[in-house]
Amino acid sequence: MITQLVASGLALGSIYALLALSLVLIHKATDVVNFAQGEMAMFGTFICFALLTRAGLPLPAVLLLAAPLGVALGVVTERATMRPLQSAPPVNALIATIGLWMIFHHAAGWIWGYDPVRFPSLFSPEPVEIMGARIAQNSLGIIAVSLLVVVLLYLFFEFTRMGVAMRAASMNRRAAQLMGVDVTRTSLVAWGLASAIGVVSGLLIAPLTFLDFEMMFSVLLKAFAGAILGGFNSLPGAVIGCLVIGVLENLIAAYVSTAFKDTFAFGIIILVLMFRPQGLFTRRIAKKV
């Protein structure tokens, strides 16, 4: 039983991890925590679903369109809501993202209805057996994509001008600006990228959880918990944190009680914030003034 629980937990954690990556990306680049990330991913996935069912495009074509579509969604949202708040205190932007959360949430229900729908999977439904545990091929795909995204983003942040500029802009916006970094551009790129990752994750997650306007609610909260556990500025840390959350959640549900499964994740957030606010996998950094 325990191998199956751990395997299902890793599969579940990988779902959280995909979303956590886009949370961390925006935070790393703009110092804003985007509470609307999950709903934007859900909204984009619904657009893909409409392309599939109403426009009748084949699944691979929709998958190719997902990333540009995500970029467009992120860029438009950033221009419309974040740009005007650029010089306001960061808490304003944070509250605006909570507003966006509600807007995307209800808009999706209003446009596409409130029933869950089945989303076709790229992978065969036959589960794979690994060490006696059965895992959906879709889940293995999610794990592979998360790792790929981590590597690509790592390369991006370390070795491209834009990546370095983003890190600089989030550490000290004004100094970065004085050094010639175009901070409006870094913010735009970060939102576009994060939203693209979000929509692609939506396409991978929806076959497992079904597509509906509530699909990202608990995923977002667990992704937060995982990202905080791993360190909100570390991409690999966030992935590991989310996998840990997924596995622990399953073990608690099976051995303690299913009723504590969710509370537990938030218990972790609080404990980590109290005792190791920088997360388990990042070094403590003094706040630069």
Binding site: S8, R118, F210, N250, A253, A254, T258
Partner: protein
């Protein structure tokens, strides 16, 4: 006696007369004219329950429309005003006040939501407004005590009892596990099932819960499988029923599964696919699409005509059943329609078959839901009725 004083006296006398002999001064109660009866409803059209609420409205509305096309009831057409309450009891209170005081509805029919219905029962009782088919799970809705309330759904605990009886009695299960939603809806079913198992000298071998926001039930499935049940009872909503059977399929686990009526929803088939659902039993407290009876065929026809996009199922049938029953009550109340006569008409129904829900058996002393259930099984992507009501 001067002018104003005389006028005052006259008004007082009239008011007293109106109070003492309501039938004598008023031709009818609010909401009834020579050619029209105005009814009302409140539904959570914008909420997590919105999909069901919309279908419920469409089912009832399709029936009223086809009734009006055929000339109405006793020469009067039905106008049905539906308000959204967003599944928020405070909003329900506001919209019901509007329906009763401003729109002057004659009665209320086919509403949805336990807390929202409960929130307005005292007001409706005080005003004497009849309410038929308040859909929810509570003693006051399913076994009403108020003279003006008529419920057509059973208690959730009775559904749980029935499912456990079916698992043990019909399917011969000795080891029964329960998977349920962690709220009143699920817990009542669980409690009913546990009670019924006790009568068979059994107890549940395993129990697990989920909350509606869960997107994964793998841990629950694994831990229930560990208890090795022959049968699993699901007190559940469609999405999580689909998640459950898909996870069981992934693990290659095949217990007998007996689900609440919601598992008969076509949404479950769409989400889980026919293979994962194969062999799952469902409790029936409304008709299902595949039932080959004249009443169901007629209902499907009416729905297809007015709402061609809506699939027949639990919510449309439930909404329509409420509409059919109140119309039958209105018919029996006769041409001189009053609320008191409608209530008398509904109480005179006795054992009454709509064909869309199990027969109701209303009388002056019982306004509650049915006591019998049907069962069906998913076979090759279709529901096959195994046991009628």
């Amino acid at each position: 006696m001067n002018g104003p004083m005389r006028a005052l006296l006259a008004v007082t006398a009239l008011a007293t007369a109106a109070f003492l002999f309501p039938g004598a001064t008023r031709a009818a109660d609010p909401g009834v004219t020579k050619d029209k009866i105005t009814l009302g409803s409140f539904l959570p059209l914008q909420s997590g329950l919105a999909a069901g609420a919309t279908q419920m409205r469409e089912g009832a509305d399709a029936y009223f429309k086809s009734l009006n096309e055929a000339g109405g009831v006793n020469g009067r057409k039905i106008e049905w005003i539906v308000e959204n309450d967003s599944y928020n009891p405070q909003q329900t209170a506001a919209v019901v006040k509007k329906l009763v005081d401003r729109d002057g509805v004659f009665a209320i029919v086919s509403t949805l939501g336990t807390v929202t219905n409960l929130a307005v029962l005292p007001f409706l009782a005080q005003r004497g407004v009849p309410i038929v088919n308040p859909a929810g799970g509570h003693l006051l809705l399913n076994k009403p005590k108020d003279k003006n309330v008529f419920g057509i759904l059973p208690l959730s605990s009775e559904i749980g009892e029935s499912m456990a009886d079916y698992a043990v009695g019909k399917l011969g299960a000795k080891r029964v596990a329960i998977f349920y939603q962690n709220d009143q809806f699920g817990k009542d079913q669980r409690d009913g099932a546990v009670e019924a198992l006790k009568k068979h000298n059994l107890q549940a071998v395993g129990e697990a819960t989920y909350v509606p926001s869960d997107v994964d039930v793998s841990a629950q499935v694994v831990s229930l499988r560990q208890t090795d049940p022959d049968a699993v009872i699901l007190g559940i909503i469609p999405k999580h029923a689909a998640l459950f059977v898909k996870e069981a399929q992934r693990l290659g686990w095949k217990p007998k599964i007996i689900g609440h009526n919601t598992v008969a929803d076509p949404v479950v088939l769409d989400l889980a696919g026919p293979e994962a659902l194969e062999g799952v039993y469902v409790n029936l407290m409304t008709a299902v699409d595949g039932m080959d009876t004249p009443a169901v065929k007629k209902a499907n026809e009416i729905l297809a005509k007015h709402y061609p996009k809506t699939k027949p199922g639990y919510y449309p049938y439930l909404g329509m059943a409420g509409a059919m029953i109140i119309v039958e009550g209105i018919k029996r109340a006769g041409d001189d329609l009053t609320r008191a006569k409608l209530i008398a008409g509904l109480e005179s129904l006795g054992r009454h078959e709509t064909g869309l829900v199990p027969p109701i058996e209303w009388s002056a002393s019982y306004h509650g839901g049915p006591k019998s259930f049907g069962y069906a099984q998913w076979q090759g992507g279709k529901l096959k009725v195994l046991q009628g009501w």
